[in-house]
């Protein structure tokens, strides 16, 4: 008799001592793993962004261009640099194959980033923090960030978006 042949007709047995001990710990661990997500989401500093809206890619493009026109402070490698609005909002658009604009943020000041795409799906991967978010055309993902360190942070695209995918980047600059 083994796992390869039929067991006796009545195979139900009591749960043995070894099994009971292990099961008890296993159940507790499973419940902990479940609960911790709620705890982190309410009390942690790094919460998964949830807020999002539908938007036509063309409309998002228009809003982003308006934002860039108004809050542009410079340019790097052909990509405009902007600062957040007075209300601490900013637009970040992914398109084949660049993230625009480059955002210049202030340390300690929260910014509400409206993240979306003009064309394909992309991935916003902030380096070296290694914070990653999916970017979908047709949806605005609201990502709130509060930088605590200064410097230049790269953004690379980490969702395959075509043959230029491995040359798609962007940047966040954080100043004091």
């Amino acid at each position: 008799m083994s796992a390869l042949t039929a067991p006796p007709r009545r195979y139900l047995a009591r749960i043995g001592r070894d099994e009971r001990v292990w099961l008890a710990f296993a159940v507790v661990w499973c419940l902990f793993l479940f609960a911790i997500m709620y705890v982190w989401q309410f009390y942690g500093a790094q919460r998964t962004p949830i807020e999002s809206y539908r938007i036509e890619p063309a409309e998002f493009r228009a809003l982003t261009q308006d934002y860039i026109a108004e809050y542009r402070i410079g340019e790097v490698s052909g990509v405009p640099i902007t600062v957040p609005t007075e209300d601490g909002e900013a637009f970040l658009a992914a398109r084949a194959f660049v993230f625009e604009p480059v955002l210049q943020l202030k340390r300690g000041e929260s910014v509400r980033i409206y993240l979306s795409s003009y064309d394909f799906q992309h991935g916003m991967s902030i380096q070296p923090l290694n914070l990653n978010f999916q970017v979908l055309p047709g949806y605005v993902y609201v990502v709130n960030l509060t930088p605590t360190t200064t410097g230049e942070f790269g953004i690379v695209c980490n969702e395959y978006c075509g043959l230029g995918h491995h040359a798609m980047s962007g940047r966040i600059i954080v100043t004091d």
Partner: protein, 580 residues
């Protein structure tokens, strides 16, 4: 004399009794099993060649392929491995489990040939479309990107075939029960395969819901919403991994029985664990969408946790019951010294046992733990779409499932072909070479991912981008990429060993009524194999621990699990930035 009588009821040339296991074999099923196994091994071979080329591209020192070929081959590798190798093998396993393991006849041999043929045609169509450069957008092809319509046509043909195969298995088990061929409960391995088949039916229907619209979109007939498609797609893509999980655990129980004669310590509890896999059937899929827009918080948390980790609990039960079964069997053989004497004395040179151990330990410590970390909603922000994910699923579906399937193939293929296993000496080493290579590969992938390297990217450092990202080209990243290259070479050598052994067995193995397959822990019994030594039942009423070694090991595992979770949480907190 049940066997003799049963065979009298089954006249004709279509039956034989396996001299090694004692199973009554309905011979027409043999060629079907081999056909699907050949489809599986061919896919694995082609996918493995592409894997080597891809990994050598990731290794900057070699940088082999140009971008277009890298993406083309990544698409092909994904579909050949994850779909064709795995599913062909699963259909072979279902044909095996639905007939030989329950001494049953295959009802509908022609039907089985039809769906096996359909799968083969589908696989050829999709592979040809992909390799000719018409499906470079990966097997996920997220809208608005599309692959060539023939890519989807092939996948759908293949899926219809696999769906028929899964239904056929359920029908086989059901009629065997009804007609009394299986008088009592099903053997545990068949029960496990039944779980896999049920999940497969559900999942493949899901697949149609995703891939039919995708086909229509590729024909320009409809436009798909990106978020809706991702949800539909992962209903299929994730469910498919639940099939692999159940099939892999079925292999573990089978390999434990074949190599040590082990019997399940608690049939009821093990079955309950498989039922938990079913409970989670529609869950988990959102762990692919944890940092997507468009999904609410409760949906994310409840789905990604398989409703409070029901499926994880199932796996934790197997994590105990498989080593406990081995321990009990080994102790019955007289290996009773200390806590782990039974483990040390295990048949480590038996290919099936080696594969079982590599798969079981690798899956538990690396794949399972990393999966739970990644599936934790907030931790997902740290790894989504990085190479860490690729490291994780090469631990699940390669180190875990593929190694387990290889282990089972070392017995099923010779016994079904009635040929000796060729190159037994090579087979003893194969799981270690393959597993060792994979460990290096997975280590490299996970390290690179932790450093920020993205998946599906020809150049991990994005050096051609207008805005440079210096943090992606560090010496440590170069080291990680080197590990990927070296690990891939080793793993591909291990994979080639497996292919060589299979091909040699099928074509050159000495024909025999009693094929040689290594040293077994089973003897031919009346209606199937029996353990070669008497193994006592697990005493469930005892106040002493019955499997002290196993109990120790599972707690070591839990400590590792908790430590990894703590480490990952610290990593998230150390990001410092507020996110929300």
């Amino acid at each position: 004399m049940a066997t003799a009588r049963a065979l009298l009821d089954r006249p004709g040339a279509f039956w034989r009794v396996c001299q090694v296991t004692g199973y009554q074999v309905f011979t027409p099923v043999q060629r079907l099993i081999v056909f699907n196994a050949v489809g599986a091994v061919l896919s694995l071979t082609l996918g493995g060649i592409l894997a080597l080329l891809m990994a050598l591209t990731r290794w900057e020192a070699v940088a082999l392929l140009p971008p277009e070929l890298y993406y083309r081959f990544t698409s092909a590798h994904g579909v050949l491995m994850l779909v064709f190798w795995i599913v062909f093998f699963e259909i072979a396993a279902l044909l095996f489990g639905g007939t030989i393991l329950i001494n049953a006849k295959l009802k509908g041999v022609r039907f089985a040939w039809t769906y096996s043929g359909l799968m083969a045609v589908g696989a050829v169509v999709t592979t040809a479309t992909t390799l000719s450069g018409h499906a470079n957008n990966m097997f996920t092809a997220y809208p608005p990107l599309v692959n060539h319509p023939m890519f989807y046509v092939g996948i759908l043909l293949f899926a219809v075939g696999a769906l028929c195969g899964s239904c056929h298995f359920v029908y086989q088990v059901w009629t065997a029960r009804r007609e009394g061929v299986v008088a009592g409960p099903l053997p545990l391995v068949v029960y496990a395969l039944l779980t896999a088949a049920i999940i497969a039916i559900w999942t493949l229907l899901h697949g149609a819901v995703a891939y039919v619209p995708a086909l229509l979109q590729s024909l320009g007939l409809i436009t798909l919403d990106p978020a809706v498609y991702r949800t539909l797609f992962w209903g299929f893509g994730h469910g498919a991994q639940q099939i692999n999980l159940a099939a892999m655990v079925a292999c573990w129980y089978a390999l434990a029985a074949i190599t040590t004669g082990a019997r399940p310590v608690n049939e009821g509890l093990s079955r309950f664990a498989f039922v938990l896999y079913l409970v989670g059937i529609n869950m988990g899929s959102m762990h692919h969408l944890l940092v997507d827009p468009g999904i609410g918080m409760h949906a994310r948390i409840i789905n990604t946790s398989y409703f409070m980790y029901a499926a994880l609990l199932g796996s934790l039960i197997h994590a105990f019951s498989i080593p406990a079964a081995l321990e009990t069997a080994q102790r019955a053989r007289g290996h009773t010294r200390g806590l782990f004497g039974w483990l040390k004395a295990g048949p480590w040179k038996e290919p099936g046992f080696a594969a079982l151990m590599v798969s079981f330990i690798g899956f538990g410590f690396i794949a399972g733990v990393s999966g739970v970390l990644m599936g934790t909603m907030q931790l997902n922000m740290l790894i989504h779409n990085t190479l860490f994910v690729v490291g994780h699923f090469h631990a699940t579906v390669v180190l875990g499932t593929t190694v387990a399937f290889m282990g089972l193939a070392y017995y099923v293929v010779p016994l079904v072909m009635q040929r000796d296993l060729s190159f037994l000496g090579l087979a003893r080493w194969q799981p270690y070479v393959y597993g060792g290579g994979l460990l290096v590969l997975i280590g490299g992938l996970m390290l690179a991912g932790k450093l920020g390297a993205s998946r599906r990217s020809w150049d991990a450092s994005y050096s051609l981008a207008p805005l440079q990202v210096e943090s992606l080209s560090t010496p440590l990243m170069t080291f990680a990429n080197t590990l990927i290259g070296i690990g891939a070479i080793l793993a591909v050598i291990g994979g080639a060993m497996f292919v060589l052994i299979m091909v040699a067995t099928v074509f050159l193995g000495r024909r025999s009524e009693r094929p040689a397959v290594g040293t077994l822990g089973i003897l031919a019994g009346r209606d199937g194999p029996e353990s070669d030594v008497a193994i006592p039942e697990f005493d469930h009423d005892a106040t002493r621990f019955q499997a002290p070694g196993t109990t120790t090991l599972v707690f070591v595992f839990l400590v590792w699990f908790v430590a990894m979770f703590a480490w990952a949480s610290v990593n998230l907190a150390r990001v410092g930035w507020g996110v929300g």
